[in-house]
């Protein structure tokens, strides 16, 4: 692993809690790694686990899904459903050969700007340690989706 490896991380953030939490981290001048590319979604229940698989297949080194704390969902039940989905998808991805730490699911509320910067920092560090996504090499032969998104 070369020291210059900078992981590409895609974060799916719930509009009502985690995105606002990320906003708070920004307005409070907290620093967090710039490796994470944030996609705003209406709810963590909107993040079909296939988004995660697709993102990883297309070459992301890590994916994080952040939503409201259980009980706080703007749509009452979205994060409960997400919780069940990711408990299965996480184990399935692990079984099919990806490292456990490539997917991270957690709850971050709108007031937890500090927690947001902390989880992003620790997740980036974990992904940096496990190295590049093994599926990425193949994906680079096609269009680099992540480059397109972030440019």
């Amino acid at each position: 692993m070369s020291e210059s490896f900078e992981p590409k991380i895609v974060g799916f953030l719930c509009n009502w809690c985690s995105y606002a939490g990320a906003d708070l981290a920004g307005t409070s001048r907290m620093s967090y790694p710039q490796n994470v590319r944030i996609i705003r979604v209406p709810c963590s229940g909107r993040v079909d686990p296939l988004f995660v698989v697709k993102t990883l297949i297309d070459g992301a080194d890590g994916v994080m899904v952040l939503g409201c704390h259980p009980g706080d969902c703007h749509y009452q039940q979205g994060n409960y459903i997400a919780q069940r989905r990711y408990s299965i998808m996480h184990r399935l991805l692990e079984f099919s050969g990806l490292e456990t730490d490539r997917l991270f699911v957690d709850w971050v509320s709108a007031s937890e700007g500090k927690k947001f910067s902390e989880v992003v920092t620790s997740f980036t560090e974990k992904v940096r340690n496990i190295g590049p996504n093994p599926l990425r090499k193949k994906a680079e032969s096609g269009i680099d989706v992540l480059e397109e998104v972030s440019s």
């Binding site: 296939l50 297949i57 919780q83 069940r84 408990s87 299965i88 692990e94 079984f95 193949k138």
Partner: protein, 288 residues
């Protein structure tokens, strides 16, 4: 003609003579002696029906083609199907998901001695404790009582793979998926795969390219395993039809094992219970 075949033919004859069903779905022998599905629509064809350990498909998947009315003012056709115990669990699932109406299906449930793929007993059958269908209209008995194997851990091979390093698992699946030709036979044979348009073939959004590369194949198989989470009955039809002999059942059984541990749920136990991924419990906190 074996004892089982005799009963299957008698039952089929009864249904067709009484005009209770318009079709009986079972197995016949092809010209090379292999089993294949057959649709019997008249009484004089009943003697084509056979049974054997190589009858390893799930005929419940053919009900999807017969669930709609064939024309205006015509009733939905009634069908009788020859099913193993694991296959009848799929009927429970399909009734729960409102794909099949109970009154339109007659289940000819066969007491199962285990089915074979390429001449060797299926992994699931080695430990299977369920030899009598949980749901049937007619029960086909075997000549001798079926020996139920001693209970052992049915997920021993999955637990072993869980001990591997991620690199080993990736290497294993890469070599397996490398053979996949994306014929989608696994999907076609599956009673749970009845989407009108499959994610793998959708163009808008274009989920996955048609490239024959490992990431694309992995996407397809992981997607299928996820969509069958809590819905796979473990009938092994996907493995039976796979022309490249990919152990697809391992993915499904891994998910089934996790579903059993997390939600204490087994697919097809009853018509009432919903698969765990379509509902939720506000009081549970899962380890993500």
């Amino acid at each position: 003609m074996t004892f089982i075949e005799d009963q299957i033919r008698q039952t089929a004859r009864k249904y067709l003579e009484n005009d209770e069903v318009s079709c009986v779905i079972g197995y016949e022998r092809d010209t090379r002696g292999r089993s294949r599905p057959v649709f019997i629509e008249s009484v004089d064809q009943v003697d084509r029906l056979v049974w054997g350990p190589d009858c390893n498909l799930n005929l419940a998947s053919y009900l999807h083609e017969r669930k709609h009315s064939p024309g205006k003012d015509q009733p939905i056709p009634k069908t009788a199907v020859v099913l193993r115990p694991c296959d009848t669990r799929a009927i429970n699932l399909l009734i729960n998901e409102q794909q099949v109406a109970r009154e339109n299906v007659r289940i000819i449930g066969v007491t199962c001695e285990g089915s074979e793929i390429n001449g060797s007993l299926r992994v699931d059958c080695e430990f299977c404790q369920e030899r009598v269908p949980p749901l049937y209209d007619d029960l086909i008995l075997t000549e001798l009582p079926v020996e139920v194997p001693e209970s052992a851990d049915p997920y021993a091979d999955i637990n072993e793979m869980d001990q591997w390093t991620p690199e080993e698992r990736l290497a294993f699946w890469t070599s397996e998926f490398d053979r996949c030709i994306r014929c989608y036979a696994c999907r076609q044979a599956c009673p749970g795969c009845y989407c009108f348009e499959c994610v793998a073939e959708k163009l808008d959004p274009h989920w996955v390219s048609i490239a024959l590369e490992v990431p694309e194949k992995m996407f397809f198989h992981v997607m299928r395993a996820y969509h069958l989470a809590g819905r796979c009955v473990g009938c092994g039809a996907c493995e039976a039809v796979c022309p490249m002999d990919i152990p697809l059942g391992k993915l499904n059984r891994k998910v089934a094992k996790e579903i059993l541990e997390l939600f204490d749920y087994r697919t097809g136990d009853s018509i009432e219970t919903h698969p765990p991924l379509v509902c939720f419990n506000p009081n549970e906190r899962l380890n993500l």
